[in-house]
């Protein structure tokens, strides 16, 4: 039973990979009336948590049964989503995939999956957020627009004062590398514009220059060699540099090769000074989805259980590919909106197969789903654990009760799993 009224502090915000845990909420009669410290997206999430809920057209038990029947009848179940719900829900999802011999993928396949692929090639020197705040005298945001996607990233971590960097504005340089001048580029100390689709060449050129090679061209990716050399000089002169990189690197031409090149560049820089890097994880628990998937199955995403044990192959068991190839014949979608975020071909196939949609709110996928089950919002209406972009696990508290009769994702998934087992007998 949750406290009905009062102030709750040190609440973790379940929106983006920053996982800010200094949110202070005013609760009155089980309603959140104020959100102190949260960015505008956090405000929207907490204050409007009761709005726009997913409608269920039958009692929960009936919907659970329907969902289980869809799973039983399917030959190739795709379980997808997970990044906007807490870890215990993930664990139930893998159980269902294992039981059904299906595939379980999470949203990293369309987000930082290429980062994982890059790390699988070369490893990764991973940064930590407090360490960046204390020590970094040089920060680069590459293909990332934190002011829009991670609104407090700069104020909480990279522009904030630290133990060694006493003045986050004067003692630290922030550069932005992007194909267009974003709002983050506008507040940075320097903006470097590169041509779209040229990240791989630019990073490779930087690497070559860092190793003392002479390049026999005038410019790479729209940047003159002199500017690239200046960048390497600045990187070498830094005492502690951190490269934050986003979907500009993972989603444009080259994909995982871009990340691999960036990893190798940062590894090389460690021969001269200290450099590390961090992917700007979008959803608040996509890093958690990779973590839970890894300790449960051995692999971070794109996992297939058809042979009774986990197999891994991006491109084969990733959600977009499974849908575009028409291979998935049923989808269990948890806390995600593929209808809004997948390319047209994938959405077309999604619309032609039975979809079980588990979410607190309505979204485009709910328009296509055969079974819609409303669940409690993790971090607001149910507790759980999530993982920050730098790997720090944080406990999400339950601050208010969910709407009457609405359960957390993990409970609903457990019910579906039990019903699947019962039907199989």
């Amino acid at each position: 039973m949750t406290e009905e009224s009062g102030m709750k502090e040190n609440i973790v915000c379940p929106f983006c990979g920053c996982l800010c845990d200094d949110i202070a909420l005013n609760i009155e009669s089980n309603k959140i009336t104020e959100n102190k410290n949260g960015c505008s997206i956090s405000q929207a999430k907490f204050l409007n948590h009761r709005d726009d809920r997913l409608e269920m057209d039958a009692p929960l038990e009936v919907l659970v049964k329907k969902a289980a029947e869809i799973i039983i009848k399917s030959k190739r179940l795709l379980v997808y989503g997970l990044s906007s719900t807490e870890n215990d829900a993930h664990r139930e999802a893998y159980k269902i995939a294992e039981e059904a011999g299906g595939v379980v993928d999470n949203t990293s396949s369309v987000c930082h999956g290429p980062t994982i692929l890059g790390a699988q090639e070369s490893g990764e020197p991973i940064a930590a957020l407090a360490e960046a705040r204390h020590r970094a005298d040089f920060i680069i945001y590459w293909g990332s627009n934190p002011q829009f996607a991670h609104p407090r990233h700069m104020s909480r971590y990279t522009r904030a004062d630290g133990f060694y960097i006493k003045d986050g504005k004067k003692d630290r340089q922030i550069w932005v590398v992007d194909v267009r001048k974003t709002i983050s580029a506008g507040v940075a100390d320097k903006f470097i514009k590169i041509n779209p689709g040229c990240d791989l060449e630019v990073i490779s050129a930087l690497r070559a220059i860092a190793r003392g090679k002479i390049l026999e061209v005038d410019e790479v990716g729209g940047l003159p060699i002199s500017e690239l050399s200046d960048m390497i000089e600045a990187m070498k002169n830094a005492k502690y540099g951190v490269l934050f990189f986003g979907l500009g690197l993972t989603q444009s031409k080259g994909r995982h090769r871009n990340i691999d090149a960036a990893i190798r560049l940062i590894q090389d820089m460690n021969h001269f000074t200290k450099w590390s890097m961090m992917p700007m994880r979008g959803h608040y628990n996509v890093a958690g989805a990779n973590k839970t998937s890894t300790w449960q199955t051995g692999y971070p995403y794109a996992v297939d259980y058809a042979r009774g044990y986990p197999r891994y192959q991006p491109g084969e068991y990733t959600a977009v590919d499974m849908l575009v190839r028409g291979e998935a014949d049923a989808v269990l979608n948890i806390a995600a909106d593929p209808a809004a975020h997948f390319p047209k071909e994938a959405v077309k196939h999604l619309a032609s197969i039975p979809v079980i949609n588990i979410d607190p709110k309505r979204n485009m996928t709910s328009l296509l789903a055969k079974v819609n089950i409303q669940t409690a919002i993790a971090g607001i209406e149910s507790d759980g654990a999530a993982t920050r972009m730098d790997g720090l696990p944080l406990y999400l508290k339950k601050v208010v009760d969910p709407p009457e009769g609405v359960l957390p994702d993990r409970d609903v998934l457990r019910m579906i799993y039990n019903e699947v087992r019962r039907l199989k007998k």
């Binding site: 444009s252 995403y301 994938a346």
Partner: protein, 133 residues
């Protein structure tokens, strides 16, 4: 009939307002407003003969979509931006080149003035995508 068009690379991504609108409701009017526009520089806008807010047709190898035109004062010709969401996804390809990741950023596009055309609502856009044109 001749059509004056502008070639550009289409990229997509998050915006603060799109993030906020998602939390307010994905089937609501704020969300529609925040994902159904295409941001471009003022030279491109002028070349197309558009006033900011006029509808623009964005065409790629994979499809076309009508969205609202928007001015980005910081932008330079060559790159245009549609926030991530169903309107951007209507015109990007689904080949992931075996990586799992489609081409969300960096699709060659052609922009044309689309005065008189209307921007589809989210539900209608979904219907169109699903029924396939």
């Amino acid at each position: 009939m001749s059509r004056v068009g502008v070639e550009a690379i289409l990229t997509s991504g998050r915006t603060l307002k799109q993030g906020r609108a998602m939390e307010l409701g994905k089937l609501g009017p704020e969300y529609l407003k925040e994902v159904s526009f295409c941001e471009m520089d003022k030279i491109t806008l002028k070349a197309l003969g558009l006033e900011e807010g006029d509808p623009v047709l964005v065409e790629t190898l994979y499809g076309s979509v009508v969205v609202e035109s928007k001015l980005d004062r910081r932008a330079e010709p060559g790159v245009v931006f549609i926030p991530c969401g169903p309107y951007a996804n209507a015109v990007i390809g689904s080949d992931t080149e075996e990586t799992g990741m489609p081409d969300f950023k960096g699709v060659p596009a052609k922009l044309f003035a689309a005065k008189g055309e209307s921007v589809l609502g989210v539900k209608d856009l979904l219907k169109k995508m699903v029924e396939g044109a």
